[in-house]
């Protein structure tokens, strides 16, 4: 199969929302008048972001999901995507499954695949997403103010727990294993939440590298501190079980700094607490108030059940850490 046949067979779809889709030197898209374009790119590398042998359909889903999560964190509506990938060889079964996972999520969000590039090489998946947001209404990291409530969606740490299991550091079983592996393989980008937070949240980030690091970025950008309560952090029963056992330290690391959560962490004025609860109910998505922003100190303070700050916070994931 040639490169062109491969694109034709698996990745050329009618562009419903584009002026011109796959097949020319560049795609053409027409932004809505009065809107800004939000643009983000993420690169997933085999052996680094996913294990060799990872299910191709799940990988197709996740490759797009992690990008949509970035748009969600801006309050942008996803519209278009470009997909570049390197593959060690042409495996039609793999390609068909990958495309199935990718397009299922793209269709669910009305995203057009408008361009891409394919080549041979060590497996690498690089997606650029483009979304739209009314001019001036995007949700940045930099707007949190002292007294704002700090919130997080969904649950934290399950994906990291699955990685800890797969790399042999802990042992999960039964439904716990299934749930955590599903959280790792099929994160749900919180697009509807991001849209709902426009006009409510003062600062938003998606939790991709772990809560401590990502909330830290919000605090740095907003030039403010925050105190959150460990006991308030939303977690699954699987993670709760690990917290209560021999692997407590690992579970704590997963909860606070595990990464791969793709939940949204956001700040909002306390006066909007009720509106946020209502939003969570409407979306059927748990939204948990985990603490408060403060101008009294810099950085992030995490309090334990006794109200004492943890002395050492785990580090965020860093791709270039030694």
């Amino acid at each position: 199969m040639t490169e062109f046949e491969l694109i034709e067979r698996y990745f050329r779809r009618p562009a419903r929302n584009a002026v011109l889709g796959v097949g020319d030197d560049a795609a053409l898209i027409a932004p809505s008048p009065g809107f800004e374009i939000a643009a983000s790119v993420d690169m997933l590398v085999e052996g680094r972001h996913f294990f060799p042998g990872t299910d191709a359909e799940a990988l197709g889903h996740k490759t797009l999901a992690v990008n949509l999560s970035d748009l969600a964190a801006m309050g942008a509506t996803p519209r278009w995507a470009l997909l570049a990938f390197a593959l060690p060889s042409v495996d039609e079964g793999w390609l068909a499954a990958f495309a199935r996972g990718f397009f299922a999520l793209a269709d669910a969000h009305g995203v057009d695949l408008v361009g891409g590039d394919t080549t041979r090489g060590p497996r690498n998946l690089c997606v650029t997403v483009l979304g739209e947001v009314p001019a001036g209404r995007a949700l940045r990291r930099s707007g949190a103010r002292g007294g704002d409530s700090i919130w997080v969606s969904g649950k934290l740490g399950d994906a990291a727990l699955a990685i800890a299991h797969q790399s042999g550091r802990i042992r999960l079983e039964g439904a716990d294993l299934v749930d955590c592996e599903n959280a790792l393989a099929r994160p749900a980008p919180r697009v509807a939440l991001g849209l709902g937070l426009r006009g409510i949240a003062s600062a938003v980030i998606d939790v991709s590298d772990g809560l401590v690091g990502d909330l830290g970025h919000v605090l740095d950008a907003s030039q403010i501190g925050a105190t959150i309560d460990l006991d308030l952090l939303p977690r699954s029963s699987a993670l709760e079980r690990q917290l209560g056992g021999a692997a407590r330290e690992i579970a704590l690391q997963c909860l606070l700094a595990g990464g791969d959560d793709y939940e949204l962490c956001f700040a909002a004025p306390r006066a909007r607490d009720a509106a946020i609860v209502t939003l969570g109910d409407r979306l059927g998505l748990p939204l948990t108030r985990i603490g408060i922003a403060t101008a009294q100190h810099a950085g992030l303070e995490v309090r334990d059940a006794t109200g004492r700050p943890l002395e050492r916070l785990p580090h965020a994931f860093d791709h270039f850490a030694p």
Copy 2:
């Protein structure tokens, strides 16, 4: 050095043309009213698109240049870029040189780097470029008509000749070697030509995979044929010398299907021949009329000096060819 320090040190620049540049979940850009966005992505893999040990500054240039070439072929003005890359390790000398090459070309074209992603992995460089073109005025591949002149900018085949030398298939020396290696390492994207061709050309493509294949895409998209003359194809004295020697077959392959040229090949009504000559003079860029589009036959016919069609045309480069 952490991932964030790396970005901060080498890739964070003030965004002159963006609402919000590097440093949030997504960049924000404001398209000009009445313009469409042209978007393209290219992935360069070490060992596939460039040899290990390739000069990092040249690679920074080329990584962006091949993308700008796609925008040039659409008649779009380059505005923004996103850069995702995987590196086997953090090498500050390499990063500084790569960034220097990348930003020198970006600055020359007024392009803002607005986003990106960095990770550890086999060396892989993935750039997405976004440009602007007045709505409805982009140059597509599909507009060529019978009787149109077929043109190509610059010279063809030198980059492929350099690869043939580097892989030991031919031997270049002195100025010939310098010129060909420069053509390979530092292609000049024909952005000004693309802009000048708006309203003149009926179809445009950039020659990245070789003239035969790329002009073939124009003919397929336009549902038309063409006849071009081998003797008219613009080539360097280096390539001319190889054509006259023992390596004639290889040189012919480089000229017709070598790839990595990043010149523009375009069709335009014969009535615009004079306007195109004037445009080439204004840009100081040779534009050569190499043949004519025809509705009399499908596909591409290449005639030799005697007017006889070549029996077998070399293939375009295909990344997934066996």
